[in-house]
């Protein structure tokens, strides 16, 4: 009896470990980009730490992507395929709901079992394209309006901001070394001194 009890105690930490669920994360990939003003940047909105071949999977999401609209201009969205596992269609929309606010929404029609079994544990929800308008550095933010699993239960996620830095395109004119500048003077002084 005692041995059984001890054995149970020994197993308990293992169970606790395996039962712990790592927090879901949503962020940008790449997290930070440095580009030249006038360029176009492409960034993925990625979700990670989902179940691998198991729940939780994502059945729907509704995110606001915030950006500095004086720095960046939204161009387009390309939605991922992990909420439409069989290519039969999902419902998705990308709408600029305000200055510097892009709403991303996607709803899967796939069955919960399929989503749980077949959806990747980390994947790109959408790929965003922005034009860089000015030289600046600004953040890309994520606000989760709703995130639901395959059974429409709410999920929480840690969000990580991204960063875009842009710089002007400048040509560096190399400066002559100080000694190089002094050299003609020194030569001149030497010549002068020898003549004297």
């Amino acid at each position: 009896m005692i041995s059984k009890f001890r054995k149970s105690l020994w197993i308990l930490p293992l169970l606790m470990t395996s039962g712990m669920v790592q927090a879901i994360s949503i962020g940008f990939n790449p997290v930070s980009q440095s580009v030249t003003t006038g360029d176009t940047i492409i960034t993925d909105v990625v979700i990670s730490d989902l179940g691998s071949g198991a729940a939780p999977s994502i059945g729907t999401y509704d995110l606001d992507i915030t950006f500095d609209d004086s720095h960046l201009s939204f161009v387009s969205t390309s939605f991922g395929n992990q909420l439409d596992l069989f290519g039969l269609g999902s419902t998705a929309s990308d709408i600029l709901t305000g200055a510097g606010v892009l709403n991303l929404f996607e709803l899967s029609f796939d069955l919960p079992a399929d989503l749980d079994a077949l959806q990747a544990d980390s994947f790109s929800l959408a790929t965003l394209t922005f034009d860089v308008l000015t030289t600046n550095s600004s953040a890309l933010g994520i606000v989760v309006n709703a995130l639901g699993d395959s059974l429409a239960n709410p999920l929480t996620a840690d969000v990580a901001a991204g960063n875009i830095t842009s710089t002007d395109l400048t040509v560096t004119v190399p400066e002559p070394a100080v000694l190089l500048l002094l050299l003609p003077g020194l030569i001149a002084l030497g010549i002068t001194a020898r003549n004297k």
């Binding site: 729907t60 509704d62 899967s108 919960p112 429409a152």
Partner: protein, 952 residues
């Protein structure tokens, strides 16, 4: 001098197609000094030949399901005014509308011969008109009529004043076609709605000193008619959209004519995708309409809207000095209408409505019994030159009407009769009696035209045998003459008794109660004296006292009652000879009934005595008590007024059949009083409520399960005793629970004489089972509890009954398809659990059956369905379905309430994404978190009734 045109000539010329022809006539007449009337309203009714032209387009087959509904509007505009004045008027016409200008609509919907095209599917029209200007009128004109032949729906007369500050006035006509049926209707022959729209005041101003006029002055009106069609209705209802054509009768919408001064401009705009144009008319009469073709089932959405806007006219604030004016309405200050005083409108009223099936003062009626409604039709004000149509109808039933003509100085038509039959059972049903039934006569007060009575209509039934009890000597051979006489006179006696019972008992038409056995052939010799110690007499004065009678009559009563039981009757009347009761030591008796018993004995006596006695004793069996005092003393009460609906005669001073007449009432007829009538309605209703059983027929095939399911039926009777076995008929309630199971055996054996029992490939299962009221599903379950068949009994039984309607029971057997089509729709709706819609379709089927089937048609095959059988079954099914609707739960996710969960519902959620729910019951907030979010959308995808939330 007034300028009044010859109205008839204007009308005639206008009717020829051009007001241009009329205007020179006016001018010519004015120049001749004749009186000319301008801008009178012209009313032209759409004649039938015109209507048929409108409705003759054929289905081009492009649309799978297509319906045609046309509303034809007659637009009457205050005609162009051309008067002469020189120089021009000394005031400047200003834009906008004076209060004196207004527009009105007189709407009159007429549905003639409506119902179906050659494919036999009807439709329902639903009109609603709203007025968007500041208005005196705030109600709605709304009618819903279905498949009614030659039925004038309604008339409304509404005027709406324009708002001067807004400078525009507008009204709109809402058009919605509901409940379109599935097969196409290629042609609707004669359905039209006619509207008259007119400016209800037109002001004419003339310079007094320059008349007759020489130069024209123009007052111009512009009227826009916008036909706005909702062709983006949600696909749940109008799948495939709505195709519409707005049109002006006789003109294409693309026709453009140059605007001319002094004429009315009519613009029809039927949407950017349909093109638009301005059409000008010289005619004073303008007709326009809208043709709506749905490619899907109708719904609650608006299908189309016609908006009429009067957007400009000349403003006249006051009449300048030196000018005279005319105002058609006479309401403009300083103007008269030029037409003399308005004729006084009549005021017709209905009053003193009384309803009778035999007695006055009862609100209990027998279903299916002739009913007479009396009403006084009064002319409270004015005069009517035409007959007044009065009508009456029970709730949701067809109306009966009649014309009533008032003579000169006649102000009341008392006790006008209307005969009708209540076809539907129900407590608190409304009986509407109305004068000026279709509002055809314009009245000063229409609120006193209608009187509504609330009545209880119950199903009643009485069938019993007359059992003749004869002297024992009648069995002798040869039979003594008195016995033969008694037998021979019996048929006549029974006929008369039946007739009286029908007159005074609340029984449906054509049901004579005493039927079932041939009394001549069931002679029953009454008993001998037997024992003499049974107390059975009455207590009282000379006829009273404790009388010890023989037990013999009890033996006979028992014998009669046994015959009743064996025949499955609810009551029985034993006819005993004249000297019967005396023979049994009851010299004063003529009839006997034992409390709580169901059989009675009545002495043959005279015909009148027997009739009265059998009715009296039968009434006892329904709990009706004697009206006379103890020992047979008459109460002295009498019935002041009653009515014999069979003979259509009024009865006054009658004696209740449970009472006895006083001496001065010795010649008064026997009848029934209100109190006893009500008891009889209840009693006969209880009898009609035999337990309901279902007759089930299923053919099993060895190794293949169910081979055939025969027609089923329900009736009142007794269930069969079935040999239990591993199979079962399970009755399932709305919650999916088995409420009754009838186990049975399936033997694949057959007895063939003289061969004996042999194996068979088939086994017929046929038995009658109790039919629980709350059963919504019947499962035929196999030996391993596997469900072999699952059947909605209401759907199947009604369908089977319709299949079994005999051809001769239709007025035209070709119309059978009307029932077939509608039962198919009914079954589909029931399958989708749309109970409310199913009940509406049942209502349609009831109306169709009422119209296309023959009353009391004779069928040789008792399995055939008659009209009465079918109507009764429909009523019964409706009641059963109504019990379901009480328990009907909304389908989670069915936000548009169309019976399924699909993309349409999803779109509703998505449209409201990230907004707050309207409350805890907001169907969009599926997770109940107070917000409508993507989570609700995902939750809905899990509730969708089809794969990936596909729409139907």
């Amino acid at each position: 001098m007034d300028i009044i045109a010859n109205e008839n000539r204007l009308i005639n010329n206008s009717a020829n197609g051009s007001a241009e022809m009329a205007i020179p006539v006016l001018r010519e007449q004015a120049n001749r000094g004749e009186e000319i009337m301008l801008c009178r309203k012209v009313r032209v009714d759409l004649r039938k030949d015109q209507a048929s032209r409108f409705f003759s387009k054929k289905d081009n087959g492009n649309i799978i399901r297509r319906y045609s509904l046309r509303l034809v509007f007659l637009l009457f505009i205050g005609c162009a005014v051309q008067v002469t004045a020189s120089p021009a008027l000394p005031f400047t016409p200003t834009p906008g509308l004076a209060d004196a200008f207004g527009v009105g609509i007189k709407a009159r919907t007429t549905v003639l011969g409506a119902g179906s095209g050659p494919d036999g599917v009807g439709f329902r029209l639903d009109f609603e008109e709203t007025f968007e200007t500041p208005r005196e009128f705030t109600g709605l004109f709304r009618t819903t009529k279905k498949r009614i032949e030659r039925f004038n729906v309604s008339t409304q007369d509404i005027k709406v004043d324009f708002n001067a500050s807004q400078q525009t006035g507008k009204f709109s006509v809402f058009v919605d076609a509901l409940q379109m049926s599935t097969p196409p209707v290629r042609q609707i022959s004669s359905v039209f709605t006619q509207y008259e729209i007119w400016l209800h005041d037109v002001i004419y101003v003339f310079r007094e000193d320059l008349l007759p006029p020489t130069d024209p002055v123009t007052i111009k009106y512009s009227v826009n008619v916008d036909a706005v069609i909702n062709d983006n209705a949600p696909s749940g209802d109008h799948r495939g959209g709505v195709r519409t054509t707005a049109f002006i009768v006789g003109h294409s919408t693309t026709t453009k004519r140059p605007a001319q001064s002094g004429i009315t401009i009519l613009k029809i705009d039927n949407g950017p995708n349909r093109g638009e144009g301005i059409v000008s008319f010289e005619d004073a009469l303008i007709q326009f309409g809208i043709d709506i073709r749905l490619s899907g089932r109708g719904g609650t959405e608006e299908d189309g809207r016609i908006e009429v806007t009067l957007d400009s006219a000349v403003r006249i604030d006051e009449i300048p000095p030196g000018y005279v004016c005319r105002s058609e309405s006479g309401t403009f200050p300083g103007c008269d209408d030029g037409a003399g005083p308005e004729p006084e409108l009549p005021d017709i009223a209905i009053s003193n409505v009384r309803v009778t099936q035999a007695v006055f003062g009862s609100n209990k009626l027998a279903k299916g019994r002739k009913t007479v409604v009396f009403a006084d039709v009064e002319l409270l004000e004015g005069e009517v030159s035409e007959p007044v149509l009065i009508g009456a109808h029970f709730q949701d039933e067809l109306a009966v009407t009649k014309m009533v003509s008032f003579g000169p100085n006649e102000t009341i038509k008392p006790d006008e009769e209307l005969e009708l039959v209540p076809e539907r059972e129900g407590i608190g049903r409304k009986l509407t009696v109305k004068a000026n039934f279709f509002d055809e006569i314009k009245e000063s007060n229409e609120k006193n035209n209608t009187e509504i009575k609330t009545v209880d209509v119950l199903t009643t039934k009485l069938e019993f045998p007359y059992v003749l009890t004869l002297h024992p000597e009648c069995d002798e051979n040869p039979v003594p003459q008195p016995c033969v006489e008694v037998k021979n006179s019996l048929t006549n006696l029974i006929n008369q008794s039946n007739q009286f019972l029908w007159d005074v008992f609340p029984l449906p038409n054509n049901q004579l109660p005493g039927v079932g056995i041939d009394p001549i052939g069931v002679g029953l010799n009454f008993s001998t004296l037997g024992q003499n110690n049974i107390q059975s007499g009455r207590v009282g004065n000379e006829q009273c006292g404790i009388i010890t009678a023989s037990i013999g009559w009890i033996d006979d009563l028992r014998a009669v009652d046994e015959i009743r039981e064996k025949g499955g009757w609810k009551r029985a009347v034993g006819i005993v000879p004249d000297n019967y009761f005396e023979y049994h030591s009851l010299p004063f008796a003529i009839g006997i009934h034992q409390p709580d018993g169901f059989s009675v004995l009545a002495e043959f006596g005279t015909t009148q005595t027997f009739i009265a006695t059998s009715a009296h004793e039968l009434a006892h069996t329904f709990g009706v008590v004697d009206g006379y005092l103890k020992c047979g003393e008459p109460s002295g009460n009498f019935i002041t007024e009653a009515y014999n609906v069979r003979l259509d005669t009024l009865i006054s001073r009658a004696v209740d059949l449970m009472d006895k007449p006083t001496k001065d009432m010795s010649n008064a007829p026997l009848w029934i009083n209100v109190e006893n009538w009500d008891k009889m309605v209840q009693g006969l209703n209880n009898i009609a409520k035999d337990p309901e059983i279902i007759s089930i027929g299923v053919l099993f095939e060895k190794d293949n399960g169910i081979s055939k399911i025969y027609p089923w039926s329900i009736f009142n009777g007794f269930p069969d005793q079935v040999e239990p076995g591993p199979y079962s008929i399970d009755f399932i309630n709305i919650n999916g629970q088995i409420i009754k199971g009838v186990p049975f055996q399936v033997n694949f054996k057959v007895n063939i004489d003289p061969l004996g029992e042999m194996d068979s490939q088939f086994s017929l299962i046929s038995f009658a089972s109790p039919f629980p009221e709350e059963a919504v599903l019947v499962n035929i379950v196999g030996p391993n509890r596997e469900i072999l068949a699952s059947i909605d009994p209401d759907s199947k039984i009604l369908n089977d009954a319709i299949i079994r309607v005999a051809g001769q029971c239709f007025t035209d057997n070709q119309e059978r398809f009307l029932l077939d089509n509608n039962i198919a729709i009914f079954q589909q709706q029931l399958e989708n659990n749309n109970i409310s819609v199913s009940i509406e379709i049942l209502n349609d089927i009831h109306n169709i059956a009422t119209q296309i089937m023959v009353d009391n048609c004779e069928v040789n095959n008792p399995l055939k369905t008659t009209k009465e059988d079918l109507l009764s079954l429909i009523d019964n099914t409706t009641k059963r379905l109504e019990t379901r609707i009480v328990e009907e739960q909304p389908i989670p996710g069915d936000i548009d309430n169309d019976g399924d969960v699909d993309r349409d519902d999803l779109n509703i959620i998505l449209a409201a994404r990230n907004t707050a729910a309207s409350g805890p019951d907001d169907p969009r907030d599926l997770d109940g978190d107070g917000m409508i979010t993507a989570l609700d959308a995902r939750k809905l995808t899990l509730l969708c009734t089809r794969t990936r939330c596909a729409s139907e």
